[in-house]
Structure formats: C-alpha cells, structure tokens
C-alpha cells in the first residue's frame, strides 16, 4: 500500500518533530498554529513523550526550556501574538544556550490582526524581537514536504548550535494540504554534545570550544551546574567583569554568524543568465517560481533565489546573487522586512524593488509577472 497521502503543513511539522526525536511539547492554542498542538497531543502520549497545554505562551516557553535542560528535545508552536509573548524567554534560551524549537505560523498583525489569514510579518521579530545583542536561526519552508524536513533541520540546528531555532511557516503553508511521502527518505538526526569528563572538570559555558558551542550536561547526569539568564562566566555564575561579559556575548553571536555557510541553505531557479532576480521565501516563493516559468516562456531572463534559511542572513551570498542584475525584486507578505536586508547588502547600482502585500492574501504569480515587466 502506498504511503503517499494528503497532509497539512502543520501536520507535517508535527511529523517532522517526531522524526527529529522531539519528545516534549508545551503550548497554548492559537490560530493558525493550533493543529501542531493537536497532532502532538495525539502522537506524543502513546510514544511515551510528554505533552503539556500551558496557561499561556510564556509558560509554554518556560516548560520547554526546563525540559530541554533535562536533555529532551522540546518545542512549542504559536502565532504572532503568542510569538510576541515568547520573546523574553527566547532571549533566555539564547543566553543560557538551551536548544529549543519555536514554530511560528505567521498571521497578519500587529496585535490580534487577521487570525485566519496569512502573512510573513514576523521576519524581523524572529531576529530582533528579544532585547540585547544575540543571534537566531530561522527557517522558512515553502511546501508541506519541506516543512517536514525543515522541522527536522530546526531540531538539528538547535542541538548543534545550542540556540533557539524559529520555524517560520506562513498560514498558507501551515494550512496547505499537499502530497506527502517521506517513506524512503533517510534523515540525519543531530544531538547536542554532552560532557563525558568528571563533573569537577566540567565548564558549562566554555568559551574555548573550537566551534564556539560548549558541551551541555543534562540535569540529573551528575554535573550539578547553574543555569542563569544573568550574564555569566564560563562556570555559569553571574559576572559583571567586563572581559567575561564581552567574551560571552560575542560568542553567542559568533557561534551562529561564523557558521552561516554551514547553516544557510537556498534553492536556485534559473539563475545562470538571469537579468532580473526574484528573492522570495515561504509560500510567496511558489508564486515567484510560477512567475519565473511564465516569464521564461516569454523569453524574459528572470530567476529566483529562494532562501530557506532566513536567519542568519548570508550577506555574501545575497550580495553575489544581486551583483550585475538589472533589478532585484523581493515579493513578500509584509512591508519589506526581508527586502531591507537585501538592500543592505546589494551593490549600490542594483535597484532593489519591493512587492508587498499585507491584506492576508497570497501574492499571486500575475502580480510578480507584472512587477518584472514594470522594472524591465
């Protein structure tokens, strides 16, 4: 019997989490992400995993960070208003270097906004939503199958870099149903590096690990160390000594930004000879691909660069892709949140145009086709 079936993006996310060996979920219901919680509440208990419905999104974050400290792979799912509430503890997970995954199924905001419609309005919030200097990893899949694989990738990256990873679905992807078949796909599962040294030799926030990522001991494994959201020294205790503060905050950022080549992935469509470059992600990339096909049939040299990794932003890669183009168009379901990053790195003589939509509906291929013709 074929294992091919019709699956929704949010379900693919839940299935990906199970495949990634996530065993702990805590969340609070919010449209359009609620199906993730529903699927996890169905799938985790029979597998011996843990499901908690908490009193709010802040508590959900606290619970998953606590669970992650004991060694479990833990995650939560939410949407705009909930994601806003999670920002403080997202920062806590950054500074304490606790691996967690946050799924944000985006809906139009600000505030309650349009709960049942689609948006890509949390691009900048994912990066800069919590206070203080830090770095995050954020991924934006474009299909149901890719949601499955990028969910697994999200857990792997969280474990590898000991950092929160945000999976940015847009409502369009979260609620999209399409062909799903992962039966023959082998997936790599990465676990955090754990200490094997005697407890007295363990340095929980060692700044000297070659990849910038210290080893993480599970609570209960005999290391009895201290985890705090205060700026801490290598032993994990509060410090206000200038060199210690400086070293720890810089490492938190560099451990991500220095590995942008390993973290960031892209899909390239018709880039070789293209004169007009489209840069699009999430559901909008599907419309962009359609537009490329239509325009190519008409002989227009247009291509698509699709970032699957939104953060860390790959300055060099984006700059290289923009260089020499007649124009770069960034269609997105916000008022230019990713475009401003593209503008930041694009050569001065390359015009970067936005194509924005914030009414909750998808950007259609025809809109992109029209925009390309306008700039040519």
């Amino acid at each position: 019997m074929s294992k091919v079936r019709l699956v929704q993006g949010n379900e693919a996310c839940a299935l990906g989490a199970i495949a990634a060996k996530a065993t702990f979920y805590a969340g609070y219901p919010i449209t359009p992400s609620t199906e993730v919680a529903e699927y996890m509440s169905t799938m985790l208990p029979p597998r011996g995993g843990k499901f908690l419905q908490m009193e709010d999104e802040i508590a959900s974050m606290g619970a998953i960070i606590g669970a992650a400290c004991t060694g479990l792979k833990a995650f939560t799912a939410t949407s705009g208003p909930g994601f806003s509430l999670m920002q403080e503890l997202l920062g806590y997970a950054v500074i304490t270097e606790v691996p967690i995954v946050i799924v944000d199924v985006q809906r139009p905001g600000p505030s309650t906004g349009l709960p049942t419609l689609s948006a890509q309005g949390d691009i900048q919030q994912a990066r800069f939503g919590t206070h203080g200097d830090h770095s995050v990893i954020a991924l934006a899949p474009s299909s149901v199958m890719e949601t499955y694989f990028e969910t697994i990738n999200a857990f792997n990256l969280a474990e590898k870099y000991r950092n929160p990873v945000v999976l940015l679905l847009d409502e369009e992807i979260g609620h999209l149903r399409e062909r799903f078949d992962v039966e023959d796909e082998a997936v790599e599962i990465i676990d955090r590096k754990r200490p094997t040294c005697p407890p007295q030799e363990y340095i929980p926030y060692d700044n000297n690990e070659p990849d910038g990522v210290p080893l993480m001991a599970d609570f209960g494994a005999g290391y009895r160390y201290h985890v705090t959201g205060l700026t801490h020294n290598e032993k994990g205790f509060y410090t206000s000594k200038l060199p210690e503060v400086d070293a720890s905050i810089r490492r938190l950022t560099s451990k991500i930004e220095d590995h942008v080549n390993e973290i960031a992935t892209f899909e390239e469509i018709e880039l070789e000879d293209c004169e007009v470059l489209l840069i699009a992600y999430g559901s909008v990339a599907r419309s962009a691909q359609e537009a490329v096909m239509e325009l190519r049939e008409q002989g227009v040299k247009v291509g698509l660069l699709r970032p699957i990794t939104i953060w860390p932003f790959h300055d060099q890669r984006i700059k290289a892709a923009c260089t020499g183009k007649k124009a770069v168009i960034v269609p997105e379901m916000n008022l230019g949140q990713y475009a401003r990053e593209v503008e930041r790195v694009a050569p001065a003589d390359t015009p970067v145009c936005t194509l924005t939509r914030v009414d909750g509906e998808m950007i259609e291929p025809a809109q992109i086709v029209a925009k390309v013709k306008e700039v040519l």
Binding site: P46, M54, A59, F219, G220
Partner: protein
C-alpha cells in the same frame, strides 16, 4: 551545621543579601531539610525566578535553574514533567510569585505536580530597592507608596488552597526549626506543596515602616505568629491580626505526572 553547609552549598558564599535579611535563614532551613531528607543531590533541581530570594539557586549544590521574573514555576513544570523522578524545589518571592508570576502560581496549584514551592514573603520588591508588592500590607510605605499603599493585599495561602494545591503551609524565619520541618513535610507530600515563609527585609521594608532593626522585625514575627493548632481554637476576631503558621491545608493529590504516566500506560496497552 558546618558539615551541612559544606554538603549543600557550593562554597561561593558570602551571598548577596543585606545584613539583617531573613533570606539566609530560609536557605539554611532548606539545607537542614535536605540533610534530613538525604536525597541524591544529582536528582534535585532548584528553580527560581528573579528577585533577592531567587538568587538562592546560585548557592545550592544541586542542579539549578535561575529563570526569568515570575516564570520559575513554568520552568519547574517542564523539568518535573520531563523527569518525574527528580526532586524539584522552587524558590520565589512575593513579587515574583504573587504579581508577575500569579497566573503560573494558580495553574501550578491546579496541576498539583509533585514539587515544593518556597515563597519568601518579605512584603516588598527588595532587588529593585523597595516597591510595594501584592503582599505588602495595606497602608504600608514603600518607594512607590510614599504615602502608604491604597492597594489591598491578599492571602497567598488561601489562593493556593482555592486553586487546588494539595499541601499549603506557612512558616516564618523566627521559627527556623519549624520551617525546616515544614520543608521536609512539603517535600514528602506527593503533590504540589506551597510554603509561604514570612521573611524580613529591614532595608527596603522595615526602614520605610518604622521597624528598621532586623531584630525588631524578627521579634514582630515571634509575637504575632500563632500555630494552626492554636488558631483553630481562637475566635475569628482573635486570629484576625495574627500570622497563622503550620500546615494550613493538606489533601490526597491527583498528582499530574502520575496521572500522565497512567495515560501513557493505557495508550500503550499496559492497562485497560
């Protein structure tokens, strides 16, 4: 006592608390309770929020998680749910627990997970320099109530009982031996155990309210506390101005992680 300190503290003392602060008495009561309980330290987790009292976790030689303001209980809930075999102690203050963490407190009481919550109630936000909290008695002065509060305070223990906590007690720093016993009993209780500890802050509370001497604050507790047993025999009028200490409420819990384990077993076909 020296041996107990060596066994349960990390050796990074002195602590940050001011001279005359009551927090150290609660911390040593916890260490004495640990000595009685003889738990495997590797299997103990201390979780705290933000504030003076929440800095306690830095000193305890167990797994420790110093979290964000008001959020200790959600973190502790995650730890306990993930590893029900671990012994979880949560440390919070009156601002941390009753104000910013109030909703988490209600739901932790409701879930009734097997853990011990110790709330240091010194009636003030000490870390930020002495602002009134929801547990500052009506009319008292603080840096944000220079003319006396017009905010009503509330009884945290009554809230705990109302929200479903299966063990609720109150202690105070004068009765340190009783406090140790309460922590032992709270830990041995197989559900969510709340201990409100009446503590003292001479610097940020006493100084603004004409009781600046640490000894006077402790004497106040000595003279104004009555045991639950005695209070039960007094008239409501007689009890009204007193601080009732001891175990105020206890019932057989429907402990969350045990109920969850039953669910898992049922789904896996082990139990019909």
């Amino acid at each position: 006592m020296k041996e107990i300190y060596k066994e349960y503290f990390r050796g990074n003392l002195p602590h940050i608390w001011c001279s005359g602060c009551g927090n150290g008495i609660v911390m040593s009561a916890w260490a004495r309770a640990m000595d009685q309980l003889q738990l495997d330290k590797n299997q103990c987790v201390g979780v705290s929020g933000i504030g003076c009292s929440s800095r306690i976790t830095g000193y305890l030689d167990i797994n420790t998680l110093h979290t964000a303001h008001g959020r200790a209980l959600p973190f502790a809930t995650g730890v306990k749910m993930a590893k029900p075999e671990m012994h979880v102690f949560v440390f919070s203050g009156d601002g941390d627990c009753a104000a910013i963490g109030g909703n988490h407190f209600i739901h932790a009481c409701r879930r009734d997970m097997d853990m011990t919550l110790i709330v240091f109630n010194n009636h003030i936000y000490g870390m930020t320099g002495g602002q009134f909290s929801p547990l500052t008695p009506f009319g008292k002065k603080s840096t944000t109530s220079p003319y006396g509060t017009v905010d009503p305070d509330f009884d945290l223990c009554k809230l705990a009982i109302g929200a479903g906590a299966s063990f609720v007690a109150r202690g105070d720093i004068f009765h340190a031996k009783q406090l140790t016993d309460l922590i032992v009993e709270a830990h041995n209780h197989p559900g969510f155990a709340v201990i409100e500890v009446m503590a003292t802050c001479p610097i940020s509370y006493g100084r603004h309210n004409k009781i600046p001497k640490p000894a006077d604050m402790v004497n106040y507790l000595k003279e104004n506390t009555v045991s639950k047993v005695r209070a039960d025999k007094m008239t409501p009028e007689e009890v009204a101005d007193k601080i009732v200490v001891g175990i105020l409420h206890q019932h057989e819990p429907l402990e969350y992680t045990k109920e969850y384990a039953k669910l898992v077993k049922r789904l896996q076909g082990g139990e019909k």
